[in-house]
């Protein structure tokens, strides 16, 4: 079963205040994410992962009457934003939660675990065998 693990970072331009971290803290955080995702690839569980650009340039797009895009944004005040995601293929939901907890504990300032909220959602699939 596949799950999407969505890493939510709080506050508009807050991004955990990441821009104000010391270079060592930043390096430790990036290093953790690389090792973590590398570990998922090595265990044969990683389907995909992407980090998203900061929300400062995010736009909301709708089609107008002529089907041309109408954009809206930027949203500096939004409380939470999607910072990145992983899609994993695992045997049980419990395994997905375990992976999410590992990601949540990524190191922040002075190496203190961030304990970020990770939203875990199952990816839709085909219907099961009927009996």
């Amino acid at each position: 079963m596949k799950f999407m693990l969505m890493m939510n970072a709080p506050s508009g331009n807050g991004d955990w205040g990441i821009s104000k971290w010391s270079p060592e803290d930043l390096k430790a955080h990036i290093g953790f994410m690389k090792t973590f995702t590398g570990g998922l690839a090595a265990s044969g569980e990683l389907v995909g992962a992407e980090g998203l650009a900061m929300p400062a340039q995010a736009k909301l797009v709708r089609a107008g009457k002529d089907r041309r895009p109408i954009t809206d944004g930027v949203f500096p005040e939004s409380k939470e934003f999607l910072a990145g995601y992983w899609i994993v293929d695992v045997d049980t939901p419990e395994r997905a939660y375990q992976i999410a907890a590992e990601a949540s504990a990524a190191p922040g300032k002075a190496g203190v675990p961030l304990n970020m909220p990770i939203e875990v959602r199952e990816v839709m699939s085909a219907p099961p065998v009927e009996v």
Partner: protein
């Protein structure tokens, strides 16, 4: 090279894969190395045979090429070690000594291999992947495509599985008599998982995925040839045939889900039904009944009904009763409630569901809401039925199923609005 010859070569290669891999593993004792060498030999065969024609003894040819690859590999490994350490005590001679000495014909090799790939130390997904590659002879790319994961992910999964087997130190031999029954359960489970993955993934016409269910049926046939007296092996094969027979009728032209009672039974594969029914009938008469045989018997009752109304529900209810006594699976209890609802009326089914509400394993499962909705509809309580159809739609993780459930809710709401 004609398409036909290419096709036959491919079939032959897949047939021979487990035999060759079994023989090479038996000789060299290193499953991981043997697996790599056999993959190389298969590739060589796929390139050479169509051009140069089939060798006289294809199996011997493959074993020889794989053995050569593995000795080459060991030799270079040996040279490397000699360079690195002076005290290299690895003797190529001892390996060459064993090559060719083992009997060419080891019919049990495929079986030993299957037991090895379905080893209890592996997770279900690893066992599935390894079985498809080592016993099924599929390429890593094909397996990755079937499970909709990147090829590198599947390669890692297979390589980790091989490593797990290596470190667990299982010898390449049949499990002991005490272990065998338990290990056979794992093997059957892995084959059924492969089947289910294929059966569900081949849903709808737009999905171009390798037919894993056909592969599971092929492996089931091979296993039955090796263990003709195991009733549950026959039971599983019959179950797969009888379920697969209904596949063409399962989805409509827009990829929508069509439930059993609405399927066009003319689309069912009568050949598969005939084979499955004959197999399960012969097996059941021998005694020693197990859960796969019972599920096959239930599938047979469905498949033999020419119309949905002619379904022999009392018999299905009796079979689910037996199955319920044999297994503690809440899904069995749920299906038993459906059958009871068909025989004794929807109120009986709903009463049985109440008991199931207390089962934590089913708590919040969409199936219980979906079954309750069906029963409520039949009992005439349409408002409650709509509510439960919607609840089920919110919980299912399958898109066609969600659409089906939402459609049911919408249909009933409209009936309510327009009146009877």
């Amino acid at each position: 090279m004609t398409y036909e010859s290419e096709f036959t070569h491919e079939n032959l290669l897949r047939e021979l894969t487990p035999q060759v891999l079994g023989a090479v593993t038996r000789r060299f004792g290193d499953f991981g190395a043997a697996e790599d060498a056999v993959q190389e030999a298969l590739l060589a065969a796929a390139l050479q045979w169509p051009k140069e024609g089939l060798p006289e003894n294809p199996r011997g040819w493959l074993i020889q090429v794989a053995a050569r690859r593995i000795t080459d590999h060991l030799r270079s490994e040996n040279a490397r070690r000699r360079r690195e350490t002076i005290a290299a005590d690895y003797s190529i001679g001892s390996i060459f000594g064993t090559v060719g000495s083992a009997a060419e014909n080891e019919p049990d090799d495929t079986l030993v291999l299957l037991f090895m790939c379905c080893h209890p130390s592996l997770t279900a997904s690893s066992a599935v992947a390894l079985t498809l590659r080592a016993v099924g002879g599929l390429t890593t790319a094909e397996i990755a495509r079937a499970f909709l994961v990147p090829e590198s992910t599947m390669a890692q999964r297979i390589s980790r599985a091989k490593q797990t087997i290596k470190t667990s130190g299982v010898p390449f031999s049949m499990p002991t008599r005490d272990e065998r029954a338990e290990r056979l359960i794992t093997v059957l489970h892995v084959l059924y998982l492969i089947f289910n993955e294929g059966y569900t993934s081949s849903f709808g016409k737009s999905l171009q995925r390798m037919e894993l269910s056909n592969e599971a049926i092929r492996l089931g046939r091979a296993l039955r040839q090796l263990l003709p007296d195991e009733a549950e092996v026959a039971g599983l094969l019959a179950l797969m045939l009888l379920t697969d027979a209904r596949r063409p009728a399962r989805s409509g032209s827009d990829g929508e889900l069509i439930p059993l009672d609405k399927q066009d039974r003319a689309l069912w594969d009568q050949g598969a039904i005939k084979e499955g029914v004959a197999l399960i009938t012969a097996t059941l008469s021998k005694g020693s009944i197990g859960p796969y045989q019972l599920q096959a018997a239930i599938a047979a009752v469905h498949d033999e009904a020419t119309t949905s109304d002619e379904t022999d529900w009392p018999q299905i209810l009796a079979l689910y009763g037996l199955l319920k006594r044999m297994s503690d699976n809440p899904m069995v209890a749920l299906n038993h409630a459906i059958a009871a609802g068909m025989v004794h009326g929807p109120r009986t089914g709903l009463d049985l569901l109440k008991k199931l509400d207390e089962d934590e394993r089913l708590a919040g499962h969409y199936r219980i809401a979906a079954v309750r909705a069906h029963l409520l509809e039949r009992a005439g309580d349409l408002d409650a039925a709509v509510e439960h159809y919607r609840a089920a739609a919110e919980r299912t993780t399958s898109i066609p199923e969600r659409d089906y459930l939402l459609t049911q809710a919408a249909r009933l709401s409209r009936t309510r609005f327009r009146g009877p």
